[in-house]
Subunit: 301 residues, 2 copies
DNA sequence: GTTTTATATCAATTTATTTGATGGTTATTT
DNA sequence: AAATAACCATCAAATAAATTGATATAAAAC
């Protein structure tokens, strides 16, 4: 048997009060329980911690040495107790959220701010990656929650339609299309395209809608970052197809122009959770912040 | 029942290893003991700390929150364990020594230095006061050890003859007595005396030897501090009677002169301990440093 | 000298911890 | 696809620890 918090608590109380009987009353134990706890503590470490003179009791040098350490550890155990109690009924701690790039860049910042504001003891830890990486991490338990572009069909995960994302074809201010009412499919195919690299969710939706592989387009520049693509399109190097979320500001300011195409460029943003798992208060709080957009199309939250 | 170190230890080990079985092996417990300890911890605080997916187990957000606190408290409990073990077999900590002025000023500094050197984890806390104050504090348990000038007869204390102190009559370099071979009693009585205040041990011995009350001497100046008396005697303001310990250096340098009187100016320096009390390693170490001077005249150490 | 107050100790009891056996679930192998 | 192995949860039983109530003992107060 090792040292226990209970016995340290008893030790501290006797040391401070200088009385076995008072300690018994305070800790709601019998006097003999206190006496035996001290005897046990002392016998375990070979030598006494107290000096007993008749009906008085006080610390000896070893007891004096121990007291501050014992007090500290008791305080910390109280803190732990409180922490566990609090976190069972209040969102405390850090939630690990995985998100794909567009969501992480254009949707989560404002939600994270809201979360921190509503729950000051809570925070997000965001991990960015593509849909597959993120959903795998969620399955492995390295994330608590994931938000990805497009659907996911891992059997271990529950998926919910979080929001609808719309892709838009964009051109620079001076581009010929910027005045056009609508652009035909062949014109789209013949255009100078600036696109994201293979594996990007955005690229896949674009290929589906246009019913053509990007590799089959006559004129293509590939860029790894959305912001770089926007700058390139603004500079008149070509046209592109990006999430509306990514180009909202540029469209509002007129730096980029939305091109009507008649194509169906919708995709779901999916919220993922592990199946059959208990939801902590922290997770529930996080979901409540995301809530406005969550629809039960794929499942119930 | 409250949280226990054992269960926190189990929690930490499972959290770190990610395995109930491995924890059971490491802590030499059965697998079910671990499983039940976790279940107990979780049920006490209403909500889980772990996520269980089939045969895997890992922390949820609450568990992640708890882990660092639990680790810290476990570390500290190990430190306490070590402290208690160490202090049972090795001098660790602070010993409270009470001493009267002369001893505190002229004998203890060098012994304290020796003590700190021999036992790096140990130290003295010195409290200075007159013999009565010091012996009372020792009885009350506010000191571990006392060194006083003269004997003590409190029944609760054991006393040992620590050293012999000799008082010497001193005069300044130019004083008429400084050349004399010996001074007679009447000359002593008629001299200009500089003495310590009432209650000083030094003064009492002086009165006994001379068989006269200081108040009956014709010319007396009272000074509260030994060092002040030495300066006054050096300056030729009168003669005094002080512990040889206090004037050793001045006599060696010839700044003060020892006057032969034929009086018996001896007194014991007494070491006091509480009776029938367990002696810790620290106290024994302290006694061993003081040892060279301790004689068993009054009792055995 | 008697009473009161306080601590230690003992055996008995209550409460916690631990085990061994068992069953269920998931991953791996055949 | 079935068999096997690895892992965790749960139950009842056993062990170990904490706690009590009674009693002894000693010092302080009266």
């Amino acid at each position: 048997m090792s040292i226990s918090l209970r016995k340290l608590e008893i030790f501290v109380e006797v040391a401070v009060s200088g009385s076995v009987t008072k300690t018994a009353e305070k800790l709601r134990l019998s006097q003999s329980a206190i006496s035996m706890a001290l005897a046990n503590l002392e016998s375990r470490y070979d030598e006494p911690l107290f000096i007993r003179q008749g009906r008085k009791i006080w610390l000896n040098d070893r007891g004096r040495l121990l007291l501050p350490y014992a007090q500290k550890i008791i305080q910390q155990s109280i803190a732990i107790d409180q922490l566990l109690n609090d976190s069972a009924s209040e969102p405390v701690g850090q939630i690990k959220v995985g998100a794909s790039t567009t969501i992480a860049n254009y949707l989560l910042p404002i939600l994270m701010a809201q979360f921190s504001k509503d729950y000051p003891k809570a925070s997000f830890a965001m991990q960015v990656g593509n849909s597959e990486t993120i959903s795998t991490l969620l399955v492995q338990g390295k994330l608590d929650l994931a938000l990805i572009e497009g659907p996911c069909h891992l059997s271990q995960l529950e998926q919910y339609l979080w929001r609808e994302d719309q892709l838009v074809v964009i051109a620079g201010q001076g581009h010929p299309w910027s005045a056009a009412k609508s652009v035909k499919r062949q014109d789209l195919i013949d255009a100078d395209w600036i696109v994201r690299e293979v594996g990007s969710g955005t690229r896949e939706v674009f290929e589906q809608a246009l019913e053509i592989k990007v590799t089959d387009l006559p004129s293509v520049i590939e860029l790894g970052h959305t912001e770089a693509i926007k700058k390139a399109v603004e500079a008149g190097l070509g046209v592109s197809c990006l999430s509306r979320l990514a180009v909202q500001r540029e469209l509002e300011h007129g730096w980029l122009v939305e091109i009507a195409t008649g194509l169906s460029l919708q995709r779901p943003l999916t919220l993922l959770l592990r199946k059959n798992e208990h939801r902590s208060h922290l997770l529930k709080a996080c979901l409540s912040i995301l809530q406005p957009g969550i629809k039960a199309s794929f499942g119930r939250i």
